[in-house]
Symmetry: C2
Subunit: 327 residues, 2 copies
Protein backbone atom coordinates (compact mmCIF):
# COMPACT_ATOMS: atom_id res chain seq x y z
CA UNK A 1 0.00 0.00 0.00
CA UNK A 2 2.82 2.45 0.90
CA UNK A 3 5.08 1.72 -2.02
CA UNK A 4 2.73 2.94 -4.72
CA UNK A 5 1.46 6.03 -2.93
CA UNK A 6 2.45 9.55 -3.95
CA UNK A 7 3.29 12.47 -1.69
CA UNK A 8 0.20 14.71 -1.78
CA UNK A 9 0.76 17.20 1.08
CA UNK A 10 3.72 18.57 3.01
CA UNK A 11 3.97 20.26 6.41
CA UNK A 12 6.76 22.84 6.60
CA UNK A 13 8.09 24.49 9.79
CA UNK A 14 10.93 26.99 9.56
CA UNK A 15 13.46 25.78 6.98
CA UNK A 16 12.58 22.07 7.18
CA UNK A 17 9.90 19.68 5.94
CA UNK A 18 8.45 18.45 9.25
CA UNK A 19 5.81 15.95 8.10
CA UNK A 20 4.65 14.37 4.85
CA UNK A 21 1.35 12.82 3.75
CA UNK A 22 1.14 10.29 0.92
CA UNK A 23 -1.95 8.96 -0.77
CA UNK A 24 -3.89 8.02 -3.87
CA UNK A 25 -6.20 10.21 -5.97
CA UNK A 26 -8.27 9.59 -9.10
CA UNK A 27 -10.31 11.77 -11.47
CA UNK A 28 -12.86 9.85 -13.59
CA UNK A 29 -15.06 10.91 -16.49
CA UNK A 30 -18.71 10.00 -17.09
CA UNK A 31 -17.73 6.69 -18.69
CA UNK A 32 -15.85 5.73 -15.53
CA UNK A 33 -12.46 5.96 -17.21
CA UNK A 34 -9.48 7.58 -15.51
CA UNK A 35 -8.73 11.13 -16.64
CA UNK A 36 -5.82 11.56 -14.24
CA UNK A 37 -4.48 9.62 -11.25
CA UNK A 38 -1.85 9.81 -8.52
CA UNK A 39 -0.66 6.73 -6.63
CA UNK A 40 -2.64 3.53 -7.14
CA UNK A 41 -6.21 3.88 -8.52
CA UNK A 42 -6.83 0.19 -7.72
CA UNK A 43 -6.10 0.57 -3.99
CA UNK A 44 -8.92 -0.99 -1.93
CA UNK A 45 -10.45 1.70 0.27
CA UNK A 46 -13.25 2.35 2.74
CA UNK A 47 -14.90 5.60 1.56
CA UNK A 48 -16.46 6.04 5.01
CA UNK A 49 -18.73 9.12 5.05
CA UNK A 50 -17.78 9.95 1.46
CA UNK A 51 -20.25 7.18 0.51
CA UNK A 52 -23.23 8.91 2.15
CA UNK A 53 -24.62 10.15 -1.19
CA UNK A 54 -24.63 6.55 -2.41
CA UNK A 55 -26.19 5.33 0.84
CA UNK A 56 -28.93 7.93 0.33
CA UNK A 57 -29.87 6.70 -3.17
CA UNK A 58 -32.28 3.93 -2.00
CA UNK A 59 -34.15 6.54 0.03
CA UNK A 60 -35.07 8.14 -3.31
CA UNK A 61 -35.28 5.14 -5.64
CA UNK A 62 -37.61 3.31 -3.22
CA UNK A 63 -40.05 6.20 -3.15
CA UNK A 64 -39.54 6.57 0.61
CA UNK A 65 -38.32 10.16 0.37
CA UNK A 66 -41.34 11.35 -1.60
CA UNK A 67 -43.75 9.35 0.57
CA UNK A 68 -42.27 11.14 3.61
CA UNK A 69 -42.30 14.49 1.74
CA UNK A 70 -38.57 14.99 2.30
CA UNK A 71 -37.14 18.31 1.14
CA UNK A 72 -33.70 19.27 -0.13
CA UNK A 73 -32.75 20.08 3.46
CA UNK A 74 -33.50 16.50 4.52
CA UNK A 75 -31.50 15.15 1.59
CA UNK A 76 -28.52 17.41 2.35
CA UNK A 77 -28.60 16.12 5.95
CA UNK A 78 -28.81 12.50 4.74
CA UNK A 79 -25.50 13.14 2.92
CA UNK A 80 -23.96 15.13 5.79
CA UNK A 81 -21.23 14.68 8.37
CA UNK A 82 -22.53 17.60 10.37
CA UNK A 83 -21.12 19.55 13.30
CA UNK A 84 -24.06 18.88 15.62
CA UNK A 85 -24.92 22.59 15.58
CA UNK A 86 -28.46 23.72 16.29
CA UNK A 87 -29.23 24.08 12.56
CA UNK A 88 -28.47 20.36 12.20
CA UNK A 89 -29.91 18.87 15.37
CA UNK A 90 -33.19 20.82 15.24
CA UNK A 91 -33.84 19.58 11.69
CA UNK A 92 -32.97 15.94 12.43
CA UNK A 93 -35.10 16.04 15.59
CA UNK A 94 -38.04 17.42 13.56
CA UNK A 95 -37.47 14.82 10.80
CA UNK A 96 -37.65 11.97 13.33
CA UNK A 97 -40.74 13.40 15.06
CA UNK A 98 -42.52 13.91 11.70
CA UNK A 99 -41.88 10.21 10.99
CA UNK A 100 -43.31 9.21 14.37
CA UNK A 101 -39.79 8.26 15.55
CA UNK A 102 -37.35 9.53 18.15
CA UNK A 103 -33.75 9.67 19.27
CA UNK A 104 -33.91 6.17 20.76
CA UNK A 105 -34.67 4.70 17.32
CA UNK A 106 -31.25 5.83 16.08
CA UNK A 107 -28.35 3.36 16.15
CA UNK A 108 -25.46 5.78 15.50
CA UNK A 109 -24.38 6.33 19.12
CA UNK A 110 -23.87 9.65 20.92
CA UNK A 111 -21.11 12.10 19.93
CA UNK A 112 -19.95 15.40 21.39
CA UNK A 113 -20.81 18.15 18.86
CA UNK A 114 -17.89 19.61 16.92
CA UNK A 115 -19.81 22.92 16.96
CA UNK A 116 -18.39 24.88 19.90
CA UNK A 117 -21.58 26.81 20.88
CA UNK A 118 -23.56 23.53 20.86
CA UNK A 119 -20.83 21.75 22.83
CA UNK A 120 -20.61 24.51 25.41
CA UNK A 121 -24.39 24.71 25.80
CA UNK A 122 -24.49 21.00 26.67
CA UNK A 123 -21.64 21.34 29.17
CA UNK A 124 -23.25 24.34 30.86
CA UNK A 125 -26.55 22.46 31.11
CA UNK A 126 -24.70 19.41 32.54
CA UNK A 127 -26.23 17.37 29.71
CA UNK A 128 -24.64 14.54 27.73
CA UNK A 129 -24.65 14.60 23.93
CA UNK A 130 -27.27 12.31 22.36
CA UNK A 131 -27.45 10.36 19.11
CA UNK A 132 -28.94 13.35 17.26
CA UNK A 133 -25.64 15.16 17.87
CA UNK A 134 -23.81 12.35 16.07
CA UNK A 135 -22.41 13.73 12.79
CA UNK A 136 -24.19 10.88 10.94
CA UNK A 137 -27.66 11.43 12.44
CA UNK A 138 -29.06 12.70 9.12
CA UNK A 139 -27.89 9.57 7.31
CA UNK A 140 -29.50 7.48 10.04
CA UNK A 141 -32.76 9.44 9.85
CA UNK A 142 -32.69 8.53 6.15
CA UNK A 143 -32.06 4.86 6.98
CA UNK A 144 -35.01 4.91 9.41
CA UNK A 145 -37.26 6.59 6.82
CA UNK A 146 -36.34 3.93 4.26
CA UNK A 147 -36.74 1.11 6.79
CA UNK A 148 -40.21 2.30 7.75
CA UNK A 149 -41.20 2.59 4.09
CA UNK A 150 -40.01 -0.98 3.50
CA UNK A 151 -41.82 -2.23 6.62
CA UNK A 152 -38.51 -3.61 7.92
CA UNK A 153 -37.35 -4.13 11.53
CA UNK A 154 -35.68 -1.61 13.85
CA UNK A 155 -32.07 -2.88 13.60
CA UNK A 156 -31.44 -1.06 10.36
CA UNK A 157 -27.64 -1.14 10.74
CA UNK A 158 -27.43 -4.95 10.54
CA UNK A 159 -25.63 -5.91 7.32
CA UNK A 160 -28.48 -8.22 6.29
CA UNK A 161 -31.26 -5.70 7.02
CA UNK A 162 -33.19 -4.63 3.87
CA UNK A 163 -31.88 -1.06 4.27
CA UNK A 164 -28.26 -2.18 4.13
CA UNK A 165 -28.96 -4.68 1.35
CA UNK A 166 -30.35 -1.76 -0.66
CA UNK A 167 -27.25 0.33 0.17
CA UNK A 168 -24.91 -2.44 -1.00
CA UNK A 169 -26.85 -2.81 -4.25
CA UNK A 170 -26.66 0.97 -4.81
CA UNK A 171 -22.95 0.98 -3.94
CA UNK A 172 -22.06 -1.78 -6.40
CA UNK A 173 -24.19 -0.17 -9.11
CA UNK A 174 -22.58 3.24 -8.57
CA UNK A 175 -18.98 2.03 -8.35
CA UNK A 176 -19.44 -0.49 -11.17
CA UNK A 177 -17.69 -3.09 -9.03
CA UNK A 178 -18.49 -6.03 -6.79
CA UNK A 179 -17.56 -4.81 -3.32
CA UNK A 180 -14.76 -6.98 -1.87
CA UNK A 181 -16.18 -6.65 1.67
CA UNK A 182 -17.16 -4.25 4.41
CA UNK A 183 -16.16 -2.90 7.80
CA UNK A 184 -18.27 -1.33 10.53
CA UNK A 185 -18.24 2.46 10.46
CA UNK A 186 -17.96 4.83 13.43
CA UNK A 187 -21.76 5.16 13.34
CA UNK A 188 -22.23 1.33 13.34
CA UNK A 189 -23.51 1.06 9.75
CA UNK A 190 -21.64 -1.24 7.35
CA UNK A 191 -19.17 0.65 5.16
CA UNK A 192 -18.58 -1.07 1.84
CA UNK A 193 -15.11 -1.19 0.31
CA UNK A 194 -14.26 -0.54 -3.34
CA UNK A 195 -11.29 0.46 -5.42
CA UNK A 196 -10.48 4.16 -5.31
CA UNK A 197 -11.31 4.30 -9.03
CA UNK A 198 -14.69 2.76 -8.19
CA UNK A 199 -15.47 5.70 -5.91
CA UNK A 200 -14.28 8.25 -8.51
CA UNK A 201 -16.43 6.46 -11.10
CA UNK A 202 -19.44 6.62 -8.77
CA UNK A 203 -18.93 10.36 -8.28
CA UNK A 204 -18.62 10.87 -12.07
CA UNK A 205 -21.92 9.01 -12.53
CA UNK A 206 -23.51 11.39 -10.03
CA UNK A 207 -22.01 14.32 -11.97
CA UNK A 208 -23.29 13.06 -15.33
CA UNK A 209 -26.75 11.88 -14.20
CA UNK A 210 -29.84 13.31 -15.98
CA UNK A 211 -31.58 16.35 -14.46
CA UNK A 212 -34.40 14.24 -13.01
CA UNK A 213 -32.22 11.43 -11.63
CA UNK A 214 -31.95 10.70 -7.88
CA UNK A 215 -28.19 11.29 -8.09
CA UNK A 216 -28.81 14.83 -9.38
CA UNK A 217 -31.38 15.56 -6.68
CA UNK A 218 -28.83 14.58 -4.02
CA UNK A 219 -25.87 16.62 -5.27
CA UNK A 220 -28.19 19.57 -5.94
CA UNK A 221 -29.37 19.36 -2.31
CA UNK A 222 -25.77 19.34 -1.09
CA UNK A 223 -24.79 22.28 -3.29
CA UNK A 224 -27.86 24.25 -2.19
CA UNK A 225 -27.19 23.65 1.53
CA UNK A 226 -23.43 23.56 2.18
CA UNK A 227 -24.09 24.61 5.79
CA UNK A 228 -26.14 21.45 6.40
CA UNK A 229 -23.55 19.10 4.84
CA UNK A 230 -20.83 19.95 7.42
CA UNK A 231 -20.98 23.30 9.26
CA UNK A 232 -19.22 26.57 10.02
CA UNK A 233 -15.44 26.33 9.80
CA UNK A 234 -15.47 23.01 7.96
CA UNK A 235 -13.79 22.34 4.61
CA UNK A 236 -16.86 20.84 2.87
CA UNK A 237 -18.99 23.87 3.72
CA UNK A 238 -16.36 26.53 3.08
CA UNK A 239 -15.06 25.11 -0.21
CA UNK A 240 -18.58 24.45 -1.60
CA UNK A 241 -19.46 28.07 -0.79
CA UNK A 242 -16.24 29.23 -2.47
CA UNK A 243 -17.33 27.38 -5.64
CA UNK A 244 -20.74 29.12 -5.56
CA UNK A 245 -22.54 25.78 -5.27
CA UNK A 246 -21.27 24.47 -8.62
CA UNK A 247 -19.50 21.44 -7.14
CA UNK A 248 -20.48 19.02 -4.36
CA UNK A 249 -17.68 17.74 -2.13
CA UNK A 250 -17.74 15.38 0.83
CA UNK A 251 -15.16 14.21 3.34
CA UNK A 252 -14.93 10.82 5.02
CA UNK A 253 -13.12 9.60 8.12
CA UNK A 254 -9.49 8.50 7.79
CA UNK A 255 -8.81 11.22 5.21
CA UNK A 256 -11.16 10.37 2.39
CA UNK A 257 -12.53 13.05 0.06
CA UNK A 258 -14.75 13.03 -3.02
CA UNK A 259 -16.02 15.66 -5.44
CA UNK A 260 -18.89 15.75 -7.95
CA UNK A 261 -18.43 18.25 -10.82
CA UNK A 262 -21.72 18.39 -12.78
CA UNK A 263 -20.64 20.97 -15.39
CA UNK A 264 -17.51 18.97 -16.25
CA UNK A 265 -19.22 15.58 -15.69
CA UNK A 266 -16.21 14.51 -13.61
CA UNK A 267 -15.83 12.65 -10.32
CA UNK A 268 -12.88 12.78 -7.90
CA UNK A 269 -11.90 10.43 -5.05
CA UNK A 270 -8.81 10.57 -2.86
CA UNK A 271 -7.44 8.79 0.18
CA UNK A 272 -4.52 9.93 2.36
CA UNK A 273 -2.82 6.72 3.50
CA UNK A 274 -2.28 7.77 7.09
CA UNK A 275 -5.80 9.09 7.70
CA UNK A 276 -4.65 12.72 8.17
CA UNK A 277 -7.66 14.95 7.47
CA UNK A 278 -5.57 18.13 7.04
CA UNK A 279 -3.84 16.50 4.05
CA UNK A 280 -7.10 15.31 2.46
CA UNK A 281 -8.48 18.85 2.72
CA UNK A 282 -5.31 20.30 1.18
CA UNK A 283 -5.24 17.73 -1.63
CA UNK A 284 -8.91 18.10 -2.61
CA UNK A 285 -8.49 21.89 -2.71
CA UNK A 286 -5.44 21.47 -4.98
CA UNK A 287 -7.33 19.15 -7.34
CA UNK A 288 -10.35 21.50 -7.48
CA UNK A 289 -8.02 24.40 -8.35
CA UNK A 290 -6.32 22.21 -10.97
CA UNK A 291 -9.73 21.41 -12.50
CA UNK A 292 -10.53 25.11 -12.71
CA UNK A 293 -13.57 25.09 -10.39
CA UNK A 294 -11.97 26.63 -7.27
CA UNK A 295 -10.24 30.01 -7.22
CA UNK A 296 -6.73 29.57 -5.80
CA UNK A 297 -6.88 33.07 -4.33
CA UNK A 298 -10.24 32.70 -2.55
CA UNK A 299 -9.80 33.09 1.24
CA UNK A 300 -11.47 29.70 1.83
CA UNK A 301 -9.01 28.04 -0.56
CA UNK A 302 -6.08 29.67 1.24
CA UNK A 303 -7.26 28.14 4.50
CA UNK A 304 -6.64 24.63 3.15
CA UNK A 305 -4.22 24.94 0.23
CA UNK A 306 -0.79 26.37 1.03
CA UNK A 307 -2.24 27.46 4.36
CA UNK A 308 -0.17 29.32 6.92
CA UNK A 309 0.22 27.42 10.20
CA UNK A 310 -0.14 29.73 13.20
CA UNK A 311 0.75 28.82 16.77
CA UNK A 312 -1.03 29.61 20.03
CA UNK A 313 0.08 33.22 19.91
CA UNK A 314 -0.96 33.58 16.27
CA UNK A 315 2.63 33.57 15.02
CA UNK A 316 3.29 32.21 11.51
CA UNK A 317 5.32 29.05 12.12
CA UNK A 318 5.02 27.21 8.82
CA UNK A 319 2.62 25.99 6.17
CA UNK A 320 0.70 23.05 4.81
CA UNK A 321 1.36 22.78 1.09
CA UNK A 322 -0.01 20.59 -1.67
CA UNK A 323 2.76 18.52 -3.24
CA UNK A 324 4.15 19.52 -6.64
CA UNK A 325 2.47 16.48 -8.19
CA UNK A 326 -0.95 18.10 -7.68
CA UNK A 327 -0.04 21.49 -9.21
CA UNK B 1 11.87 11.64 3.19
CA UNK B 2 9.08 9.19 2.23
CA UNK B 3 11.18 6.76 0.25
CA UNK B 4 13.38 5.61 3.11
CA UNK B 5 10.67 5.39 5.76
CA UNK B 6 9.38 2.09 7.11
CA UNK B 7 5.78 1.15 7.91
CA UNK B 8 5.55 1.32 11.71
CA UNK B 9 1.81 1.13 12.44
CA UNK B 10 -1.29 -0.14 10.65
CA UNK B 11 -4.99 0.65 11.08
CA UNK B 12 -7.27 -2.29 10.30
CA UNK B 13 -11.05 -2.16 9.88
CA UNK B 14 -12.97 -5.33 9.09
CA UNK B 15 -10.97 -7.41 6.59
CA UNK B 16 -8.94 -4.52 5.14
CA UNK B 17 -5.97 -2.35 6.01
CA UNK B 18 -7.59 1.10 6.14
CA UNK B 19 -4.61 3.36 6.92
CA UNK B 20 -0.85 3.06 7.26
CA UNK B 21 1.76 5.12 9.13
CA UNK B 22 5.43 5.14 8.10
CA UNK B 23 8.34 6.60 9.99
CA UNK B 24 11.87 6.40 11.31
CA UNK B 25 13.07 5.01 14.66
CA UNK B 26 16.49 4.67 16.28
CA UNK B 27 17.83 2.99 19.44
CA UNK B 28 21.25 4.28 20.57
CA UNK B 29 23.65 3.08 23.27
CA UNK B 30 25.64 5.20 25.72
CA UNK B 31 28.39 5.82 23.15
CA UNK B 32 25.80 7.29 20.77
CA UNK B 33 26.10 4.36 18.35
CA UNK B 34 23.04 2.79 16.74
CA UNK B 35 21.88 -0.46 18.31
CA UNK B 36 18.91 -0.83 15.98
CA UNK B 37 17.15 1.40 13.47
CA UNK B 38 14.12 1.50 11.19
CA UNK B 39 13.87 3.88 8.25
CA UNK B 40 16.50 6.63 8.03
CA UNK B 41 18.42 7.48 11.25
CA UNK B 42 19.87 10.54 9.51
CA UNK B 43 16.47 12.11 8.77
CA UNK B 44 16.41 15.75 9.92
CA UNK B 45 13.66 16.16 12.51
CA UNK B 46 12.11 18.66 14.89
CA UNK B 47 11.83 16.83 18.22
CA UNK B 48 9.24 19.37 19.41
CA UNK B 49 8.24 18.66 23.02
CA UNK B 50 10.43 15.56 23.11
CA UNK B 51 13.32 18.02 23.57
CA UNK B 52 11.94 19.46 26.82
CA UNK B 53 14.37 17.48 28.99
CA UNK B 54 17.25 18.99 27.01
CA UNK B 55 15.69 22.46 27.23
CA UNK B 56 15.51 22.00 31.03
CA UNK B 57 19.23 21.22 31.39
CA UNK B 58 20.41 24.87 31.61
CA UNK B 59 17.93 25.43 34.43
CA UNK B 60 20.04 22.95 36.46
CA UNK B 61 23.55 23.57 35.11
CA UNK B 62 23.21 27.33 35.66
CA UNK B 63 22.33 26.88 39.33
CA UNK B 64 18.97 28.57 38.74
CA UNK B 65 16.92 25.54 39.88
CA UNK B 66 18.72 25.23 43.20
CA UNK B 67 18.70 29.00 43.77
CA UNK B 68 14.91 28.91 43.33
CA UNK B 69 14.66 25.72 45.47
CA UNK B 70 12.91 23.80 42.71
CA UNK B 71 11.72 20.31 43.61
CA UNK B 72 11.29 17.17 41.53
CA UNK B 73 7.72 18.27 40.88
CA UNK B 74 8.94 21.50 39.28
CA UNK B 75 11.46 19.59 37.17
CA UNK B 76 8.82 17.07 36.02
CA UNK B 77 6.61 20.01 34.98
CA UNK B 78 9.54 21.66 33.15
CA UNK B 79 9.75 18.46 31.04
CA UNK B 80 5.96 18.11 30.67
CA UNK B 81 3.36 18.46 27.95
CA UNK B 82 0.59 18.49 30.50
CA UNK B 83 -3.19 18.25 30.20
CA UNK B 84 -3.89 21.56 31.95
CA UNK B 85 -5.56 19.68 34.82
CA UNK B 86 -5.75 21.24 38.27
CA UNK B 87 -2.70 19.24 39.45
CA UNK B 88 -0.69 20.94 36.74
CA UNK B 89 -2.07 24.46 36.71
CA UNK B 90 -2.06 24.91 40.49
CA UNK B 91 1.62 23.94 40.63
CA UNK B 92 2.68 26.18 37.74
CA UNK B 93 0.68 29.08 39.19
CA UNK B 94 2.42 28.57 42.58
CA UNK B 95 5.82 28.28 40.87
CA UNK B 96 5.33 31.61 39.10
CA UNK B 97 4.06 33.35 42.26
CA UNK B 98 6.99 32.02 44.31
CA UNK B 99 9.31 33.57 41.73
CA UNK B 100 7.52 36.91 41.93
CA UNK B 101 6.10 36.35 38.46
CA UNK B 102 2.66 35.80 36.96
CA UNK B 103 0.69 34.48 34.02
CA UNK B 104 1.35 37.60 31.95
CA UNK B 105 5.11 36.90 32.05
CA UNK B 106 4.57 33.70 30.08
CA UNK B 107 4.99 33.76 26.30
CA UNK B 108 3.45 30.36 25.45
CA UNK B 109 -0.05 31.57 24.56
CA UNK B 110 -3.38 30.28 25.88
CA UNK B 111 -4.64 26.75 25.19
CA UNK B 112 -7.87 24.95 26.03
CA UNK B 113 -7.03 22.21 28.58
CA UNK B 114 -7.05 18.63 27.28
CA UNK B 115 -8.27 17.63 30.74
CA UNK B 116 -12.07 17.39 30.45
CA UNK B 117 -12.98 18.42 34.03
CA UNK B 118 -10.70 21.47 33.72
CA UNK B 119 -12.10 22.32 30.30
CA UNK B 120 -15.70 21.98 31.46
CA UNK B 121 -15.06 24.06 34.58
CA UNK B 122 -13.79 26.93 32.41
CA UNK B 123 -16.77 26.69 30.07
CA UNK B 124 -19.25 26.66 32.94
CA UNK B 125 -17.56 29.70 34.48
CA UNK B 126 -17.62 31.46 31.08
CA UNK B 127 -13.84 31.87 31.41
CA UNK B 128 -11.22 31.64 28.68
CA UNK B 129 -8.18 29.40 29.10
CA UNK B 130 -5.00 31.27 30.03
CA UNK B 131 -1.31 30.67 29.37
CA UNK B 132 -0.96 28.51 32.51
CA UNK B 133 -3.32 26.00 30.83
CA UNK B 134 -0.91 25.75 27.90
CA UNK B 135 0.62 22.25 27.90
CA UNK B 136 4.11 23.87 27.86
CA UNK B 137 3.57 26.21 30.84
CA UNK B 138 5.98 24.22 33.03
CA UNK B 139 8.75 24.52 30.45
CA UNK B 140 8.08 28.23 30.23
CA UNK B 141 8.12 28.61 34.03
CA UNK B 142 11.56 26.99 33.81
CA UNK B 143 12.62 29.42 31.08
CA UNK B 144 11.45 32.35 33.25
CA UNK B 145 13.30 30.98 36.29
CA UNK B 146 16.48 30.67 34.25
CA UNK B 147 16.04 34.10 32.68
CA UNK B 148 15.59 35.73 36.07
CA UNK B 149 18.68 33.92 37.41
CA UNK B 150 20.68 35.19 34.43
CA UNK B 151 19.31 38.72 34.83
CA UNK B 152 18.08 38.60 31.24
CA UNK B 153 15.12 40.41 29.65
CA UNK B 154 11.47 39.33 29.53
CA UNK B 155 11.33 38.09 25.90
CA UNK B 156 12.84 34.74 26.78
CA UNK B 157 11.51 33.01 23.66
CA UNK B 158 13.58 35.17 21.28
CA UNK B 159 16.17 32.95 19.59
CA UNK B 160 19.02 35.29 20.63
CA UNK B 161 17.88 35.61 24.26
CA UNK B 162 20.39 34.11 26.76
CA UNK B 163 17.85 31.44 27.76
CA UNK B 164 17.55 30.15 24.19
CA UNK B 165 21.28 30.45 23.58
CA UNK B 166 21.77 28.18 26.61
CA UNK B 167 19.15 25.76 25.24
CA UNK B 168 20.88 25.57 21.87
CA UNK B 169 24.23 24.91 23.54
CA UNK B 170 22.66 22.14 25.65
CA UNK B 171 20.92 20.70 22.58
CA UNK B 172 24.09 20.51 20.48
CA UNK B 173 26.04 19.05 23.41
CA UNK B 174 23.36 16.40 24.05
CA UNK B 175 22.82 15.38 20.43
CA UNK B 176 26.53 15.54 19.60
CA UNK B 177 25.68 17.52 16.46
CA UNK B 178 25.63 21.06 15.16
CA UNK B 179 21.93 21.84 14.78
CA UNK B 180 21.11 22.58 11.13
CA UNK B 181 18.49 25.18 12.11
CA UNK B 182 15.29 25.80 14.00
CA UNK B 183 11.59 26.41 13.67
CA UNK B 184 9.15 28.12 16.00
CA UNK B 185 7.22 25.71 18.21
CA UNK B 186 3.52 25.81 19.06
CA UNK B 187 4.48 27.55 22.33
CA UNK B 188 6.58 30.18 20.47
CA UNK B 189 10.00 28.93 21.69
CA UNK B 190 12.61 27.98 19.08
CA UNK B 191 12.70 24.23 18.42
CA UNK B 192 16.12 23.07 17.27
CA UNK B 193 16.44 20.42 14.57
CA UNK B 194 18.81 17.44 14.63
CA UNK B 195 19.13 14.06 13.01
CA UNK B 196 16.89 11.39 14.51
CA UNK B 197 20.04 9.58 15.63
CA UNK B 198 21.12 12.79 17.38
CA UNK B 199 17.95 12.70 19.49
CA UNK B 200 18.39 8.98 20.29
CA UNK B 201 22.01 9.70 21.22
CA UNK B 202 20.89 12.53 23.51
CA UNK B 203 18.40 10.23 25.24
CA UNK B 204 21.11 7.54 25.67
CA UNK B 205 23.36 10.16 27.28
CA UNK B 206 20.56 10.96 29.71
CA UNK B 207 20.17 7.23 30.40
CA UNK B 208 23.88 6.72 31.04
CA UNK B 209 24.56 9.91 33.02
CA UNK B 210 26.10 9.62 36.52
CA UNK B 211 23.78 9.52 39.53
CA UNK B 212 24.48 13.16 40.44
CA UNK B 213 24.24 14.57 36.91
CA UNK B 214 21.52 17.08 35.89
CA UNK B 215 20.35 14.60 33.24
CA UNK B 216 19.71 11.98 35.92
CA UNK B 217 17.87 14.43 38.14
CA UNK B 218 15.52 15.26 35.26
CA UNK B 219 14.64 11.71 34.19
CA UNK B 220 14.26 10.71 37.84
CA UNK B 221 11.80 13.57 38.32
CA UNK B 222 9.83 12.43 35.27
CA UNK B 223 9.79 8.80 36.41
CA UNK B 224 8.72 9.82 39.93
CA UNK B 225 5.86 12.02 38.65
CA UNK B 226 4.34 10.48 35.52
CA UNK B 227 1.04 12.27 36.30
CA UNK B 228 2.78 15.67 36.04
CA UNK B 229 4.55 14.87 32.74
CA UNK B 230 1.26 14.43 30.80
CA UNK B 231 -1.93 13.49 32.71
CA UNK B 232 -4.73 10.98 33.10
CA UNK B 233 -5.50 9.03 29.93
CA UNK B 234 -2.25 10.04 28.22
CA UNK B 235 0.33 7.61 26.80
CA UNK B 236 3.37 9.13 28.58
CA UNK B 237 1.69 8.86 31.98
CA UNK B 238 0.08 5.47 31.49
CA UNK B 239 3.11 3.74 29.94
CA UNK B 240 5.55 5.18 32.52
CA UNK B 241 3.26 3.86 35.27
CA UNK B 242 3.11 0.48 33.51
CA UNK B 243 6.94 0.35 33.63
CA UNK B 244 6.93 1.09 37.38
CA UNK B 245 8.92 4.28 36.87
CA UNK B 246 11.95 2.48 35.40
CA UNK B 247 11.84 4.30 32.05
CA UNK B 248 11.15 7.94 31.16
CA UNK B 249 9.23 8.58 27.93
CA UNK B 250 8.11 11.80 26.29
CA UNK B 251 5.97 12.65 23.31
CA UNK B 252 6.34 15.61 20.96
CA UNK B 253 3.96 17.22 18.48
CA UNK B 254 3.78 15.83 14.94
CA UNK B 255 4.24 12.28 16.25
CA UNK B 256 7.63 12.39 17.92
CA UNK B 257 8.49 10.08 20.83
CA UNK B 258 11.61 9.45 22.90
CA UNK B 259 12.53 7.07 25.71
CA UNK B 260 15.31 7.05 28.32
CA UNK B 261 16.18 3.58 29.69
CA UNK B 262 18.60 4.08 32.63
CA UNK B 263 19.07 0.38 33.52
CA UNK B 264 19.95 -0.51 29.91
CA UNK B 265 21.74 2.80 29.26
CA UNK B 266 19.76 3.12 26.02
CA UNK B 267 17.98 5.98 24.29
CA UNK B 268 15.14 5.80 21.74
CA UNK B 269 13.80 8.39 19.31
CA UNK B 270 11.10 7.98 16.67
CA UNK B 271 9.17 10.13 14.22
CA UNK B 272 6.04 9.17 12.31
CA UNK B 273 6.32 10.92 8.95
CA UNK B 274 2.73 12.10 8.77
CA UNK B 275 2.52 13.47 12.32
CA UNK B 276 -0.06 10.89 13.46
CA UNK B 277 0.16 10.67 17.26
CA UNK B 278 -1.73 7.36 17.47
CA UNK B 279 1.04 5.72 15.43
CA UNK B 280 3.86 7.24 17.52
CA UNK B 281 2.20 5.89 20.68
CA UNK B 282 1.79 2.45 19.11
CA UNK B 283 5.38 2.37 17.84
CA UNK B 284 7.00 3.49 21.11
CA UNK B 285 4.99 0.84 23.00
CA UNK B 286 6.18 -1.82 20.53
CA UNK B 287 9.82 -0.75 20.93
CA UNK B 288 9.56 -0.71 24.74
CA UNK B 289 8.09 -4.25 24.65
CA UNK B 290 10.86 -5.30 22.27
CA UNK B 291 13.46 -3.91 24.69
CA UNK B 292 11.93 -5.92 27.54
CA UNK B 293 10.92 -2.96 29.72
CA UNK B 294 7.15 -2.92 29.03
CA UNK B 295 4.86 -5.92 29.60
CA UNK B 296 2.97 -6.66 26.36
CA UNK B 297 -0.01 -7.90 28.37
CA UNK B 298 -0.30 -4.86 30.68
CA UNK B 299 -3.69 -3.11 30.16
CA UNK B 300 -1.93 0.20 29.49
CA UNK B 301 0.17 -1.45 26.79
CA UNK B 302 -2.93 -2.95 25.18
CA UNK B 303 -4.43 0.52 24.93
CA UNK B 304 -1.68 1.61 22.51
CA UNK B 305 -0.15 -1.56 21.03
CA UNK B 306 -2.53 -3.79 19.02
CA UNK B 307 -5.37 -1.76 20.49
CA UNK B 308 -8.98 -2.52 19.65
CA UNK B 309 -10.73 0.38 17.91
CA UNK B 310 -14.26 0.88 19.24
CA UNK B 311 -16.90 3.06 17.64
CA UNK B 312 -19.45 5.42 19.19
CA UNK B 313 -21.56 2.52 20.44
CA UNK B 314 -18.52 0.70 21.85
CA UNK B 315 -18.51 -1.90 19.06
CA UNK B 316 -15.15 -3.46 18.10
CA UNK B 317 -14.57 -2.17 14.54
CA UNK B 318 -10.85 -2.80 14.04
CA UNK B 319 -7.41 -2.34 15.53
CA UNK B 320 -4.25 -0.29 15.51
CA UNK B 321 -1.29 -2.63 15.20
CA UNK B 322 2.46 -2.16 15.30
CA UNK B 323 4.04 -3.25 12.02
CA UNK B 324 5.86 -6.58 11.83
CA UNK B 325 9.17 -4.71 11.55
CA UNK B 326 8.87 -3.63 15.20
CA UNK B 327 8.10 -7.10 16.61
Amino acid sequence: MMSTATTLAEIWRGPFLESVHAGHAVICDASGEIVEAWGDPQAVVYPRSSSKMIQALPLLTSGAADAARLTDEHLALACASHNGAEIHTQRVDRWLKDAGLGESDLRCGPQEPADIPARDALIRAHESPCQIHNNCSGKHAGFLTLGKHLGAGPEYIDPDHPVQAACLEAFEEATGETSPGWGIDGCSAPNYASSLQGMARAMARFAAAPADAPETRLHEAMRAHPDLVAGEGRACTELMRAMDGKVAIKTGAEAFFVAILPEQKLGVALKILDGGTRAAECAIAAILVRLGVLDAEHPATRKYLDATLRNRRGIDVGSIRAADALR
